[in-house]
């Protein structure tokens, strides 16, 4: 029918009008709340900017709201890099009050751009002493909420079936016996990829690290742009029909393997190479220019509360920084915690990051 | 509805320039109640532009268009309540016949029953009764033109504008349609302007014919008047009288390439006061010559052209340009010698200065 276009047009025009009205309303309310004096945080809505991987049990957030009267709105914006960069880009007029998910490879950039508001956070005593020590210079701005170790993983079953011994050090990966078996992520586009490059540099110095990578490339390593392609497409124990039994992933992969098998697996086929791992911390802080800085601080403190810290492992497969947080059974049994993970200084990372990535790119991808 | 007597369309000094080029230069024209005015002109003479100005599709730079005495220049096309029929009918191919005819009625907000009745009435009027559901693509050219006419007539327009309405049709069809349209317009008492480059069409349809040359109306008169006294050679050529030739006046006689013939000017009201020895231009109307055994002119038949009711022969008279003559015989052969009679009043004479 001819007339079919009419309702669409009407809806469209209506939508446009409503859009403008709606937009005005949003503008008005935010201006109002921004101007209100912060006497009490009760009844406010605090906005948390985080990355796409953020997950939390509904009941946990509800408990925070019940305790404090603060509602939480969660804004997810891409991966960690994108999130940090948009936050920096909109620093003068922030989209949120608090931010969570800045890791130690991006921390220095965020601090340099004065992304955070200085606060005195409560409850830091309960956190890992080593984390507090490593990031003490930034303690006024951010708190370390969780950590994970970026390590090589291998498919135990594959090595058993092919009667090859799995690698025990990262040096083994350059040996001819393991030729063409490894897949890693691009350091220029993926955070585990970058982490492993930083880890090798921290261990051996830049020049030797670059030689190591040259040898790895010479030994037929495949480089994917992101973790999903590497783990889910190319890894033999991933989701697809991968052909490579060694993948750059996390030390928490074995518990994830079991949890996601939905009871089909009681033991994990994923082995973790605990040599040469990079420890990745994620931080939270109050954004500079936040509309509700006090409520935001309460939210950040909640992120290091026991309730959140104990919910976190099974939601995001990371370890709590709080020492008294109880780990889930599957973590206690299957997660590997490397004895001596590498934790290069975040300021050194910030200073050399772009230059190191450039060097690595010319070797690995040139 | 205003009284019939006031339904007059007037163009006063209408000038239009398109892209800087003058197309109409001060056109004055009047169309009286139920009058059909033909607009005759060569292509590019501006005749279609007059229609577009009247329709409200084009805006004049100077001058005024009035309907019933008041200016309508401020009215956009859709509020003038005129109708328009284009050369190649411009029907909506995505609608059937009824869908085309009822468009104006739908735009007037008429209800379905009224529309259906009116469409049937209009189709009957144009001789296409029962064609409602036919697709446009299945109609012949003449049928399409009739649909276009029905579409223009259906909303009872105050004035109909025809832009070369029969141009795309072949002769017999055209003659029939011209007659039908004339009858329909007169029966409905709808005034009309018919733009055409075909003088037969203009003469057959119109109460008056305006001849347009280079954006000016050079003559506007009833067909018979125009036929008898074209204002100049150009008009004569446009109304199909033929090619002018040089002649010399010698008292009451003209010395023409076809021989000496009596000067028609001496007893007509054209008032041309001529002196002996004047150079003039002479044109023969198609009905000027006829084959007659007692004719004064000798000619050689070149070819024969039967035209339905009568036969024409093209003849050579001495070394003069070929001309047509009527005949009631059909056994002429090329090369035959015949004698021709000249009708004096079928000779049109212009002073030499009028050419150009």
């Amino acid at each position: 029918m001819n007339t079919a276009a009419k309702p669409t047009t009407r809806i469209g025009i209506g939508a446009l009008v409503v859009a403008l009205l709606f937009g005005e309303a949003a503008c008005g309310s935010s201006a109002h709340s921004g101007a209100a004096p912060v006497t009490s945080t009760r009844g406010t809505t605090v906005t948390l900017l985080t990355h796409d991987a953020f997950a939390v049990s509904k009941s946990v957030l509800a408990a925070f709201t019940a305790d404090t009267g603060i509602k939480v709105k969660v804004l997810r914006q891409g991966d960690a890099g994108l999130m940090v960069n948009t936050a920096i880009t909109s620093r003068d007029d922030p989209q949120a009050d608090a931010i969570y998910g800045v890791d130690n490879t991006f921390l220095s950039r965020a601090l340099d751009h004065k992304l955070f508001d200085a606060r005195s956070f409560r409850g830091l005593d309960a956190l890992q002493p080593e984390a507090r020590a490593a990031f003490s210079a930034a303690a006024r701005y951010v708190v370390p909420v969780d950590f994970g170790d970026v390590c090589f993983n291998y498919d135990i079953a594959w090595f058993a079936k092919h009667k090859i011994s799995p690698p025990s050090t990262i040096g083994d990966l350059t040996k001819p016996a393991l030729r063409g078996l490894t897949v890693v992520e691009n350091a220029a586009t993926s955070s585990p990829g970058l982490a492993m490059v930083l880890s090798t540099i921290a261990r051996d110095g830049v020049d030797k690290a670059m030689e190591y990578w040259r040898a790895l490339v010479g030994n037929g390593v495949k480089i994917d742009d992101d973790w999903t392609s590497a783990y889910e497409t190319d890894f033999t124990d991933g989701g697809g029909n991968g052909t490579r039994p060694i993948v750059l992933s996390y030390a928490s992969s074995p518990p994830a393997d079991i949890v996601y098998s939905e009871g089909k697996k009681t033991t994990s086929d994923v082995g973790v190479l605990t040599d040469g791992c990079f420890r990745q911390y994620e931080f939270a802080g109050v954004l500079h220019g936040a509309s509700h800085p006090d409520a935001a601080q309460q939210l950040v403190e909640f992120l290091i509360s026991r309730r959140f810290q104990e919910d976190m492992p099974l939601q995001m497969f990371v370890f709590p920084t709080r020492t008294d947080a109880a780990l889930p059974e599957v973590f206690r049994r299957w997660a590997k915690v490397p004895a001596a993970p590498l934790l290069p200084d975040y300021r050194t990372i910030g200073a050399h990051r772009d230059e190191w990535i450039k060097r690595w790119t010319s070797i690995a991808l040139g | 509805m205003p009284a019939v007597g006031t339904d007059v369309l007037e163009l006063c000094g209408v000038s239009v320039a398109l892209g800087g080029t003058p197309v109409l230069r001060g056109v004055d024209l009047e169309v009286g109640p139920s009058e059909i005015v033909g607009l005759l002109g060569a292509s590019g003479s501006g005749k279609s532009t007059i229609l577009r100005v009247v329709a409200g599709l084009e805006q004049q730079q100077r001058g005024e268009v009035r309907w019933s005495g008041s200016a309508i220049d401020h009215l956009p096309a859709h509020r003038r309540e005129f109708g328009m029929v284009f050369q190649d009918h411009v029907l909506f191919a995505h609608r059937d016949v009824a869908g085309n005819v009822e468009l104006g009625l739908r735009l007037q907000g008429r209800d379905r029953a009224m529309r259906r009745a009116r469409v049937a009435e209009m189709l009957a009027l144009v001789g296409l009764a029962g064609y409602e559901c036919r697709r446009i693509a299945t109609l012949s050219g003449g049928e399409q033109q009739r649909v276009a006419l029905a579409r223009a007539l259906a909303p009872s327009p105050k004035l109909l504008l025809f832009d070369e309405p029969f141009g795309a049709l072949d002769r017999p069809l055209r003659d029939r349609l011209v007659a039908d349209v004339g009858a329909i317009l007169h029966a409905a008492a709808i005034p009309a302007i018919v733009v055409t480059h075909d003088h037969d069409e203009a003469f057959a349809l119109s109460d008056r014919v305006a001849v347009l040359v280079d954006g000016r109306i050079v003559q506007c008169a009833a067909p018979s008047q125009l036929w008898r006294h074209p204002a100049d050679e150009q008009v004569a050529s446009l109304i199909g009288i033929g090619t002018a030739v040089d002649a010399q006046r010698d008292g009451d006689v003209l010395d023409t390439p076809w021989g000496r013939v009596p000067d028609p000017g001496s007893d007509t009201d054209s008032g041309s006061v001529a002196r002996r020895g004047d150079h003039v231009r002479v044109v023969l109307r198609p009905d000027a010559l006829s084959v007659a055994d007692d004719g004064a002119i000798t000619a050689i038949v070149r070819r024969l052209a039967p035209r339905g009711d009568r036969t024409m022969v093209e003849v050579a008279i001495g070394g003069a340009p070929l001309v047509w003559a009527e005949t009631d015989r059909d056994d002429h052969r090329a090369g035959d010698a015949v004698r021709l009679r000249l009708r004096r009043d079928a000779l049109v004479v212009f002073p030499e200065t009028s050419s150009g």
């Binding site: 914006q77 948009t86 990535i357 | 892209g19 100077r62 504008l161």
Partner: protein, 560 residues
């Protein structure tokens, strides 16, 4: 006195001009607000930091050998992708537009499906199909240009079939018959009679495909691997990883230059080939297949296209079913990483797509009407060159979003869209972002059809008493309806599948399907992946249904 004034103000012309200006305002304001402003804001930050023009990075980037390499690869892969897409697309468009086939409607819907799949899914499906260990892994196409070109062709086939098909279906079949009767073989008849009339739409489709391939992001990222990058992936890397707005801005400028040149060349070529043949909005331009040879040929061709189209979709469905129907059964339960149930993202996507489609059709349709109207002014008046150049400029500006990276616009949104109206985190921003991407498409699709309308039909309607809006409804709309339906379908498809710009619009409530798919795919473990693939499979179904529905709408006849 009164008459005098009426004469001086030339009301018809001025009213027409006023209507045109009013109509032009809508697309200009929309594109200005949601495209030009964010773009200028982001470029300003990159090139004029702190108020000082800083062109060093532009010069660096231009003199850098890597840029030359990136630019050459970008253009080469885009050109090859376009050629392949057109080569497959034209015969397919012809068969679907002119032959009466069982299942033609389904086929048309199917062609559209790849276009709406989020690039993440497309790339993952191709990687699963062609990658190491995949069924076609032995071809060693991933990572590499061949896989990119194949995926681009798969992805963009819909553009050719829709844009060229919409025009083809409107060409009077008698034209070909005339050529055939005159003794031309089918190919010759096609070249002589059909191709000249199709030329403008083929150019339009090629330009769109080329631009999509130039700015293609997800496909290049996944299938190109780290070694094969384009300007777009480099812009993404520079902005999201290095926060190097200066170098990114320089690349954005280079890319915009490429886009402008492409559009200019395309519009030139289209004008050169601009055979404004009269079209009929005929009821049915199709004819049944004749003879064994035609039947076999068409069957073989369609079969091959079907396999090509279905293979990646089959991979997606197979992956979603790897755990039985679990992935579908658990759709209703909330997933923390989505803060919603997977099923609810379908509603979110549809709501957003509906609004985005309405916006895109209104804005793009008005833009097309204005551009076509300006052309018409020139046509009638002979010397409206200045105004028509204005129309050309408007057309170019409105087409630019086709060629500017979603990353750039996304960042621009973050900077620019908080004043004067606080849209940045409003629900409306998602459909607006999607509509911005779809507007040029709508305009590009509607414009050729609008230009083919016989101006005198508008005169007829006007004289019969139709107001300008009514003239549009009575005359233009029936002829452009197919094109509008195609445009609306595309707009809807684009917004359903849009990922780039949407990803930058950080919002608190439920994500759209592509965003949900991407988030689920980024999670470890097979469960979330199955859910992601199940959502992708549902997206295929939703799109397919919608495409078929739109096809019906475009074919439906008026009731008179």
């Amino acid at each position: 006195m009164d008459l005098h004034r009426a004469r001086l103000s030339t009301p018809v012309a001025s009213r027409r001009a006023a209507a045109m200006v009013a109509a032009a305002c809508v697309p200009i304001v929309f594109i200005g607000w949601f495209f030009v402003w964010p773009l200028v804001a982001i470029l300003g930050r990159g090139l004029i930091p702190g108020g000082h023009v800083h062109l060093g990075p532009v010069l660096d980037v231009v003199s850098d050998g890597r840029l030359r390499h990136l630019a050459i690869f970008t253009l080469t892969q885009a050109a090859l992708s376009t050629v392949v897409t057109i080569a497959v697309g034209i015969p397919l468009a012809g068969v679907l537009a002119r032959r009466r086939l069982v299942g033609a409607r389904v086929m048309r819907g199917l062609v559209l499906v790849p276009f709406v799949l989020p690039t993440v899914v497309v790339a993952t499906a191709f990687a699963a199909l062609l990658g190491e260990g995949g069924p076609l892994g032995s071809w060693h196409l991933v990572p590499g240009p061949a896989a990119i070109i194949g995926a681009h062709a798969w992805f963009n086939l819909a553009v050719v079939v829709r844009v060229v098909g919409a025009r083809w279906a409107n060409i009077d079949p008698r034209l070909v018959e005339v050529a055939r009767v005159a003794g031309a073989k089918p190919m010759r008849a096609f070249r002589e009679a059909t191709l000249p009339l199709l030329a403008e739409s083929v150019m339009a489709a090629s330009a769109i495909v080329f631009l999509f391939c130039v700015t293609s992001f997800g496909v290049v990222l996944v299938l190109g691997g780290p070694r094969y990058g384009t300007l777009e992936t480099e812009i993404y890397r520079l902005t999201t990883q290095e926060l190097a707005f200066d170098r990114a801005s320089a690349l954005v400028l280079v890319q915009m230059l490429v886009v402008l040149v492409t559009l200019w060349v395309a519009s030139r070529a289209a004008r050169g080939a601009g055979e404004q043949g009269r079209l009929v909005a005929s009821r049915d331009a199709t004819r049944p297949l004749r003879g064994v040879r035609e039947r076999l040929g068409v069957a073989a061709f369609l079969g091959a296209v079907l396999v090509f189209l279905l293979a990646p979709i089959v991979v997606v469905v197979a992956r979603s079913l790897s755990g039985g129907l679990d992935a579908y059964r658990s759709m209703g339960t909330e997933v923390p990483v989505l803060a919603a149930s997977p099923a609810s993202t379908i509603g979110t996507s549809l709501r957003s797509a509906l609004v985005a489609t309405a916006l895109a059709v209104i804005v793009g349709g008005l833009a097309a009407a204005v551009v076509a109207g300006m052309g018409a002014v020139r046509g009638v008046r002979g010397a409206g060159a200045r105004r028509s150049r204005l129309g050309g400029a408007l057309e170019l500006v409105l087409l630019l979003p086709l060629g500017v990276s979603a990353v750039t616009i996304g960042f621009g949104f973050v900077i620019a869209l908080n004043r004067p109206v606080h849209l940045r985190s409003s629900w409306w921003l998602v459909p607006i972002a999607q509509a911005t991407v779809a507007v040029p498409f709508v305009m590009r699709t509607v414009l050729p059809a609008l230009r083919s309308v016989d101006a005198r039909q508008r005169d007829v309607a006007a004289v019969l008493g139709a107001r300008p809006a009514r003239v549009w409804r009575e005359v233009d709309f029936p002829v452009v309806r197919r094109a509008l339906a195609a445009a609306a379908t595309f707009a809807c498809a684009i917004s359903l599948g849009e990922f780039g710009a949407t990803a930058f619009v950080a919002r608190a409530d439920a994500p759209t399907m592509p965003i949900a798919i991407r988030r689920l795919l980024a999670r470890p473990g097979a469960t979330d992946h199955r859910t992601a693939f199940a959502l992708a499979a549902l997206l295929v179904v939703v799109t397919g249904v919608m495409a078929v529905a739109a096809d019906r709408l475009g074919d439906a006849r008026g009731g008179y």
